[in-house]
Symmetry: C2
Subunit: 213 residues, 2 copies
């Protein structure tokens, strides 16, 4: 199993037992997350942008309009970025306030932007992004035309410096608190896809496709 | 209805129609979100930390261990921060790849850290944080003792420079695409609380309290 090197920036200093550096864990969290936040700074003023993304092999891809201010800032200035994703899996309800916690899986990546100019890579990134957000969707829809491709900027970020932080399981209380008359456990949280809402302008006679059902 | 001033940092330049500056919208998004990401930079190297938080009046409160490296960095250096939260409400499935989108509500706040030293404010922040994560929980649990209070650092961030960005509703396709034989609409997403998992060490005879049922 391969792992990311532990660097000054990725070393988990607080609760180090929660730190995970293997690529499999890092990639699985990135693949489940539907958005990331991209942080960068300009003259030490931090900014962050939430955005959809897709991981392909050892790269994170984001896309936006060629007119996007922050995409152009990132690309022209080659600004260092910190990208993070967080999945909240549950509330950890301990007997004491102090030991309340959250079950979560988060990833932090330090990287820098590269503009994607190769058409095959661009096409693949958008196809896989679309199918990540809605599995099976790409084959069903109108593909981008020349003008739409020209209006789209894709940036890639190599995942070389990365770490995950994970908490799972039951609460951990102080020894003497286990005798308190307080219910303790975990309240799981899950992001769920709910019943589809058809476009009010949906053409008559179009059924919900199998990949959405 | 009060609003946040539009500043160089908070002006929405991309799809400006999605920008929202009224305090009610900004606060409602902050109050629904279970975690935020706090971005800061050191020598132009950006970092970000996902963390639970609570909004009380015009402040965001986060807490952590007094031993937390990043909490101490923020506090001792008074680093400017960018705090963001994002709620994903649904996948917007258009007829063309290009017009696929996401329904979301996000907030970005620019501020700086203040350490909370007033005990009443500290106590209130932790109580309201606990009840945000699990409504009704605070009154049921063992309150922090002196040692636990001393081990906890709370930072506040005044919400003065803030904006929201919101997309709602159906896909918007190009005129000529409405005739395509492609299902279009929205697939809603919702973070849901699921069935409780009792602590394996739960004391016998303790029922699930009403506020959790």
């Amino acid at each position: 199993m391969s792992s990311f090197p532990v660097t000054d920036k990725t070393k988990i200093t607080r609760l180090p037992k929660r730190g995970v550096y293997d690529t499999e864990t890092v990639y699985s969290i990135l693949d489940e997350a539907l958005f990331c936040t991209v942080a960068y700074s300009n003259d030490n003023q931090p900014f962050q942008i939430p955005t959809g993304f897709v991981r392909i092999e050892n790269k994170i891809y984001i896309h936006g309009s060629v007119g996007s201010f922050y995409m152009r800032e990132l690309q022209t200035k080659k600004l260092p970025v910190c990208i993070s994703v967080t999945l909240i899996d549950g509330m950890v309800l301990a007997r004491s306030a102090f030991h309340h916690s959250v079950n979560y899986r988060s990833v932090t990546v330090f990287s820098e932007p590269n503009i994607v100019t190769d058409n095959d890579e661009l096409y693949k990134a958008l196809e896989m992004f679309t199918n990540k957000m809605c599995p099976g969707r790409w084959d069903d829809i109108r593909k981008p035309n020349d003008g739409e491709w020209k209006a789209t900027m894709v940036l890639s970020f190599v995942i070389e410096e990365a770490s995950a932080k994970v908490r799972v399981g039951a609460p951990k209380d102080d020894e003497e608190d286990y005798d308190l008359n307080v219910w303790a456990g975990v309240q799981p949280l899950k992001l769920e896809r709910k019943a589809l809402i058809p476009d009010p302008d949906l053409k008559a006679g179009i059924e919900i496709p199998g990949y959405l059902a």
